[in-house]
Subunit: 552 residues, 2 copies
C-alpha cells in the first residue's frame, strides 16, 4: 500500500527567520531545523520570537529526531525551547553545528536532555523510524551546512536548507552537485527549497571574492583595521586572519559570541590561526596601530556589541582614530539599516574610514540567487516544489522559477506557517491547517507576553499614560480632596494642561456625585472619556488614561 | 574694508533631512531652505521633526528672505513653522516650488503671512540687503530645482541644493553646467555641496532610464498596472503617463498628496496629461483591467497611503489580483525598508507581480554620485568646501572628494548643525556654536514634547507600566484596605504574579507603618523598589512603576 507523508512548516514561510518544518508519517515525526526570529520594531520589548510549538508538544509520541541543516540562529535558535517543551529522542547535526548547539544547550542547562548525534555528509543514510535521512553538503555562509534528502512513505523529499552554489568556497567543500544530480536521477517527489534570494537575478558572488577584497584593501593601510562580521561566519574570519598573517598583523578577537565561535571552530579544526598571531584586547596597546587587525561583533549595529561600543567611544580596550579602517563585512538585515548607519557615522566622526557593503565589495550573500535556484531545480528535477525560507514575495519568485524550469503550476505548493501539506504518489497538496504562530521570549518569560500586552505597549509608546486617582469617602460617596494626576510621556510636569485636566476631573466627579452616580465603573468611564476628549482637543494626542477610584 | 559672512546650518548636517542654513552679514540674515525630517522609530509618537528655530526667533531684525532650492519636504516642510515663529520679509522660490508651498501655507492658514516672490533661473540676480542671490538651474527628482549663488560681504558662495548631473532630464532642463563654470571663473570662495551620494562611485542614472524601463515593462502586461512613487516626482509620473497614453491605458491618480501635486503641476504646465486620459477612481470598474494605469502614493509603505491600503485589501475603490503588476518606483528611505517589504509581500499574496528597485530598474536617485560631485567641484573650483546635506559618513566622503580635487585639507569645513562658520577673504573657519537641535511636532503640539517625554514613552514601550495605589487613613496612617494594582503591557490580568505583587505591596506598607514611616515620598520609594525587584526576579522585566499613596 503506498503511503503518505505530512509536511507542516511551523516557521520560515512568509518571513525570514525561525525555520522549522515537521515531517510526519506512520505516526512518527521528525523536525528539520528549530529556528528563531528576531523582534521587529513593533514587537516592543520582546527579546526573541519562537515558533509556536503547541502542535509538537501535543504529539502522542516523542519527536523521533530533530535534524539541523546548519548552525545559524534562524535554524537552531529555538532548539533549547523546543527541548524544554517537547520530548525529542535525538538531535542530528554536522560536526560544527553540533559544536555550536552544544555550547548553546550548555548555557540553557540542557546538555543532557537529548541525545546528540553527528550527521556525516560523507556517510551512510540514517534510518529514523519511517524516515531515511541523507545529508548532502551545501555551501553557505557558515561551514558544514547540509541539505537533507528524506526517503519517506509518501515519497522522496529534498530539503535544501540554506545554500548557494559557490564553486570556490573557502574550505573547498562545494555544494555537492554530483550527489544532488544523483538524487535527482533516483527521482524526487518534492523539493523544499531556500527562497531567500529568488528575486535576485544571476549568481551570488563566491565567498572568496570577499577574501580578494580583503587582500586588496588591507595591505596598504597603516592604521588599525577592524573587521566586523557575523560571529558565525567562520570563513569570513578565516579570510581576514589569512590576510593579517600575510601582512604581519596580530589578530585580536573582540565580542563574546565571536570569541566563543572562534574557539569552537578552532577546536574542531574549522578555522586555522597560528598560535602566536592571536593577542588579547589588553595587549593591543603593546603593538603599533599598523600591527593589529581586530575581528569584532556588531556588524548589525547591535546596541551592546563590540563595534557599537567602539563607535560610541564606550569600549574599555579599543578606540578608533584618524588613519584607522573599519570594514563592516555584512549586510544589514532589513530593519537594522539605521542602527548600522548610526555606527558608521560615529566611526567616521572619529576619523576612521569605514568600508561597508554599499561602498566596497566586502560582503557576499550566503544564499543562492535565481540562477542558482534554477540549477538546483535542474539537478533535483522535482515533481513538486514547495518554496520555503522567505517572505511571500520570495516564495512567489521561487515558484515562478520552478514553473519556468518545467514544474507544472499545479505542482507548486505555496504554503504558509501552519499549513498541512500531504505528499503521496499523486503529488503534494495543501490539505489543512494546524495551530501555528509566534511565541515571544521577553525577559525570563516564554509565551506569557501576548498580543494584548504588545498592543498596550504600543499605545503607551505613542502618547504616554495619564493616571487619575479619585478618592471617595462616606457611604454616599462625597468626593474627598482633589483628584490626583500622574502623567508620563505626554506632558511635562508643571504644564498648565495638567491643572486644566485636574479641574476637568473634579468637574466630572462633582457632576456625577450630584446626580448620585457612585458606581466605580461608571465614574471611571466618565473620567476616562472626559479627560480623553479634553486632552485630544488640546493636544491632538490620545494617551492611555487609567482612572483609579478609591473608596474609603 | 573687506567684510565677513557667517554661515550657520540649523539642519541637514549629520542627517538626511530638515536642511536649513542661515547666512548673516552686516546685521541681516537670509535662510536657504526650511526643511523638516521624519521621525525614526525611537521618536515614539512624534509626527514631524523641525529644526530648533530659537536662533532665528531671537534675531533683532526680521529675516530678510528665505530662499528655497526646491519643493521637497526636507527643504520646505518647516517653512510654515518658521513663518509662525519668526518674522520673514520675503520667501523666494521657483515657480513649481512656489505652487507647492502656496498650497502648504494655505493649509496652515499662512498664505498672507509673508511675501512670496518668484525666483527665475533665467533672470537677473536679486539684491537682498547685503546679499545678491542668483538662481542656477539644477536637475533633481522634482522639477524647477536650483542652486543658489550668493554674493556676500565675506565672499562668493555657491549652495548647490540637491542636484544630479542628469544630461538627459525628462524636461530637457539640465543642470546648468555652463553657468556654474562661469560662476567658477568669477571665483568662488565657498561651496556648500549636497553630499547625499558622495559615498557612491560613478554616476547616478538619468531619470530617463526609468522611463525606458516603464516602456519595456508596461506594454506587454495585460492586467492592471499600479505605479507608486513619491508624490512630488513629477517627471516620474509624466513618464508613466506617457507610456500609458502610448499603449491606450487610462490613468487614474490615487492618494491625496499625489492628486494635489499633479493638479498643481498641471496648472503650472509642469506635467502634460491629455484631458480624456484621466479617470476617477470610481470609473475604474468601467474599464478592463488591461485598460488602466493607476498612479498612487505609498512608495514608502506609509501606513495610510493608497498603496498600503490596496495591499491590505482596505481600499474602497481598488483591489489587485493575479495578472496585475505593481511597480514601486522609489527606494525605501532608510528605516522604511520593512514597511515597504510588508506591502510588497501583501501585494504578492494577492497574486500581483511586484517590480521594485531591488529586482527591476524602476528607480534612480535624485542625487549625484561621486563623479558628479567631482564635476561640480571642477566647475565651481571653490577655495573652500563645506559639505552639507547628509549623514556624517556622507559629509566625510564628500570632503575626501574635495581634497582629491585639489582643495587643501585646511579649506574643508566639516561643520555640524549649530556650527558658526565665518567666511572672509582669508577663508572659511568654524568659530563657534549656536543653540540648535530638534523641535518635535506631536499632534497639535510644536516643541512641547521633549526628551523626558520620549524617554518615558520608551520605558513604557519596553515593559509596560504598573500602578499601585495605596490608601492611608487616619493621622497616624494605618493602611486602609488592600493596595490596588493596575498593570498594562507586561502581565495579563488574572496572572498569579499580580496577586504576588499585591501581597508584596501590602507587606512593604505594613512593614513601613509598623516602623512609623508615613512620609508619602518614602512609602512610594519603598513600594517602587520592592515591587521592581520582585518583578525583575520573576520576569526579567522592568516596567515603569508608579506608586500612588492617597491619604484620606
Amino acid at each position: 500500500m503506498p503511503g503518505s507523508t505530512r509536511i507542516i512548516p511551523l516557521g520560515g514561510l512568509g518571513e525570514v527567520g525561525k525555520n522549522t518544518t515537521v515531517f510526519e508519517a506512520d505516526g512518527e515525526a521528525i523536525v528539520i531545523d528549530a529556528g528563531l526570529a528576531f523582534p521587529r520594531d513593533e514587537h516592543l520589548g520582546v527579546d526573541l520570537i519562537l515558533p509556536d510549538f503547541t502542535y509538537l508538544t501535543n504529539l502522542d509520541k516523542p519527536i523521533r529526531a530533530v535534524l539541523l541543516t546548519h548552525g545559524h540562529e534562524d535554524h537552531v535558535g529555538s532548539l533549547p525551547y523546543l527541548l524544554r517543551q517537547a520530548r525529542v529522542q535525538e538531535v542530528w547535526a554536522t560536526r560544527l553545528t553540533l559544536g555550536l548547539i552544544k555550547s548553546k544547550l550548555d548555557e540553557h542547562g540542557l546538555l543532557r536532555s537529548t541525545e546528540l548525534k553527528e550527521a556525516d555528509p560523507d556517510g551512510e543514510p540514517v534510518q529514523l523510524g519511517p524516515f531515511r535521512a541523507e545529508f548532502v553538503r551545501v555551501a553557505h555562509s557558515i561551514p558544514d551546512a547540509v541539505a537533507i534528502v528524506l526517503e519517506t512513505p509518501g515519497g522522496r523529499i529534498v530539503h535544501t536548507g540554506d545554500y548557494k552554489m559557490d564553486h570556490t568556497p573557502v574550505d573547498g567543500l562545494r555544494t555537492d552537485v554530483g550527489r544532488l544530480a544523483e538524487v535527482g536521477n533516483r527521482g524526487v517527489d518534492l523539493l523544499l527549497g531556500d527562497s531567500t534570494n529568488a528575486e535576485r537575478p544571476g549568481v551570488t558572488g563566491s565567498e572568496r571574492l570577499v577574501g580578494e577584497a580583503f587582500r586588496q584593501l588591507i595591505p596598504p593601510r597603516e592604521g588599525r583595521i577592524l573587521v566586523a562580521s557575523f560571529a558565525s561566519n567562520v570563513h569570513r574570519m578565516q579570510q581576514a586572519i589569512d590576510v593579517a598573517v600575510d601582512v604581519g598583523r596580530k589578530v585580536c578577537v573582540v565580542g563574546r559570541s565571536m570569541r566563543k565561535n572562534i574557539n569552537i571552530a578552532r577546536n574542531l579544526g574549522y578555522i586555522e590561526v597560528p598560535e602566536d598571531v592571536l593577542i588579547q584586547p589588553k595587549e593591543l596597546d603593546d603593538y603599533g596601530r599598523g600591527d593589529v587587525l581586530i575581528l569584532c561583533t556588531g556588524s548589525q549595529g547591535e546596541p551592546l556589541s563590540a563595534l557599537v561600543r567602539i563607535a560610541y567611544n564606550d569600549h574599555p580596550a579599543i578606540k578608533v582614530e584618524a588613519g584607522d579602517t573599519v570594514i563592516i563585512s555584512a549586510k544589514p538585515v532589513p530593519g537594522n539599516e539605521l542602527k548600522v548607519h548610526d555606527a558608521i557615522n560615529e566611526l567616521a566622526r572619529s576619523g576612521a574610514e569605514v568600508l561597508h557593503q554599499e561602498v566596497a565589495p566586502v560582503h557576499v550573500s550566503g544564499h543562492g540567487n535565481a540562477e542558482e535556484l534554477r540549477l538546483m531545480l535542474g539537478l533535483v528535477r522535482p515533481k513538486s516544489v514547495m518554496p520555503v525560507h522567505g517572505e511571500f514575495r520570495m516564495l512567489a519568485a521561487h515558484a515562478r522559477l520552478a514553473v519556468e524550469s518545467g514544474v507544472p503550476e499545479n505542482r507548486i505548493v505555496l504554503a504558509e506557517n501552519g499549513s498541512v501539506v500531504e505528499l503521496d504518489e499523486s503529488g503534494a497538496y495543501l490539505t489543512g491547517k494546524v495551530d501555528s504562530g509566534v511565541t515571544f521570549v521577553d525577559g525570563l518569560g516564554v509565551g506569557d507576553v501576548q498580543d494584548v500586552a504588545l498592543r498596550d505597549r504600543r499605545h503607551l509608546s505613542e502618547d504616554g499614560v495619564l493616571i487619575v486617582v479619585a478618592t471617595l469617602t462616606g457611604q454616599n460617596g462625597s468626593v474627598a480632596g482633589q483628584p490626583e494626576l500622574i502623567a508620563r510621556g505626554f506632558a511635562e510636569p508643571g504644564e498648565p494642561l495638567l491643572e486644566e485636566m485636574r479641574e476637568e476631573a473634579q468637574r466630572v466627579l462633582d457632576g456625577l456625585i450630584k446626580d448620585n452616580v457612585t458606581e466605580i465603573k461608571l465614574l471611571q468611564e466618565h473620567l476616562h472619556d472626559g479627560l480623553g476628549q479634553l486632552i485630544y482637543d488640546r493636544t491632538g494626542r490620545r494617551p492611555m488614561i487609567l482612572p483609579v477610584v478609591v473608596e474609603v
